[in-house]
Amino acid sequence: MSIDRRNFFKVLGVTGAGLALGKQAQAEPAGEEVTEFKAILYDSTRCVGCQSCEFSCAEVHNLPEPEDFPEVGVLRKTNEKRRTVVNAYDTSKGEVYVKRQCMHCNQPACGAACLTQAMLKTKEGPVIWRENKCMGCRYCMISCPFDVPKFEYNSPNPKITKCNMCFERQQEGQLPACVENCPAEALMFGTRRELIAEARRRIVENPDAYYPHIYGENEAGGTSFLYLSPVPFEEIGFRTNIQNASYPALTKGFLYSVPAVFVLVPSVLLGIHKATKSNLDKNSNHD
């Protein structure tokens, strides 16, 4: 396997944004509550393509019920009226179903893009969108490497729509609707750490059934939606050119240069101004 325990901790440690891991938790001051990112593990070897997740998602979020169904050769996409879709792919190991929705990145590009913090990575793990903060600039859509956020173009008061991992249900102690209603147990909810361990266990115990990679463990700096597949991920429609570093890191250099520019440029300009002034003063009296 390409990822060992140490690497796994390193990734979590780098990208965890203040989350404390088991070992580090002992070093935390007593009394401070420790929260780990919640995540969902999706095992496409178990998925039967029944669309229960789609129907329950539509019901919980008051969206229209899906009218089409997974079909090989047809790429169904999420849009402003559906936040999750199941697609069928013809692969080297037969027909495989894949559920798609927001990946809930550990360091989401949409969240770093958002200038009003409307797109927010909660400390519990889900990436949520807050209507009262959003300007509707759609920079989150530009930045998301998975093309997840969708926009209600035909509304005068549009919303950005995407899977929020049923954040409001999680707050009440309930499971995300898709997880709760999956009859095949293809979806599993838990802390991200537990789920990565579980995914590893499945791969190790049944190496013939799985392609040995957990999509989302490192992609885009790690995501809170983790995928297992029987075949390489490009066969089931995943983008494999996603970088392993987090996307917000790409703007870090620029953002770090801003304070430097703010100090240096005015000083240089003022310096030039003074330098040229003393030269000119001698012969500019005629003005």
Partner: protein
Amino acid sequence: MTSSAFPLKKEKKSIGRFLLDELKPRGKWLTPFNIISIPVMLVGAAIIVIRFINGIGAVSNVTQDIPWGVWKGFNVITGVAFAGGAYILTFVVYVLKVDKFHSIVRVTVLNGFLAYVFYAGALVLDLGKPWNIFNPIIGNNFGANSVLFLVAWHFLLYIVAQAIEFSPAVAEWLNARRAHKILSGLTLGAVIFGITLSTLHQSGLGALFLMAKEKIHPLWYSEFIPLLFLMSSVFAGLSMVIFEGSISERVFADQITSENKKQRKDIILILSRICAFSMFVYLFMQILVFAHGHRWAYINTPMGYWFLLEMLGFVVVPMLLFLLSFKRANIRWAKVAAVLTIVGIILNRLNVSIIAFRWDAAVHYVPSWMEIVVAVSIVFVEIWIFRWVINRMPVLRESPSWANNKHA
């Protein structure tokens, strides 16, 4: 307003009447420009009403994959590049103190100021929830790690800086001598602040696309987009100064003194030299990025030809024309080069923000006629205001004698 017992109020009233008089149009009504622009602006206004009633999708072709259309790609991102002339010229005139450019600095600042005001306006049209536009400015909603947050703040502050830079002209128009003195004193501070903000947001507009790493065609994406945007804003802005200057020279010929007219040729020749050199630097940076990114593999594709057209046709050719114009002291070539450069900058900005953005998407974005009408209307409204100001304030013409500044 009704009572004239207080002298202060009386004075206010006369200012009010003065402003009312100034609001009235001057000169001929049925000029070709008016005949074209008035219907376009009326249709544009109607489309904007539809947009706010039925949503952006009712008038625009933007998709879920390509969420930014011409309003952002052309009006905001391209328009700001053309407004770059203001920070370059204020640097030359107020920091380096090259007196030669005094006669064109005010009109360039006006142009830049209006460009920012109207392109911010275009942004409002494109926002889904424009009533939340003040969220990043006030309240506790600071998305401080967002590039767009910085760009938004820099836009706002730069509009203020440019307003201060231009304010002495307003004071001269209103005959407000004391205000003129105070405002003129603020110019240098505003200029230095403004140049700093400009370097940051010209590059910031490029930095907006840094996170779209796999979504922009590799010939246009690199981690150096911010630097390329900054560098190209130099010759984009100056080409616009040359272009706008050669039109103003004819349209507002009566306002320009004969002395300034003589200077203009000299100014254009120097500007064309700055353009040529900055284009050379830009080209060199592009070549470095090209070689560094091993981009040869992409050249023999349709997107590769499109890239070559942008680089050769609209950077190399105008660069050579600018050099030619300088060598031969012939400003006609500079004007041709300026127009080519402007086309090239439009191409470049639209390539990064729209054409090469999700070039692999199943459905390509082509702007609707309504989007284009609105985009053009915004430019027309800006030109109308520009003309209104030029005809009233001492922008091209000389300042009144009491304002004894060189042209601050």
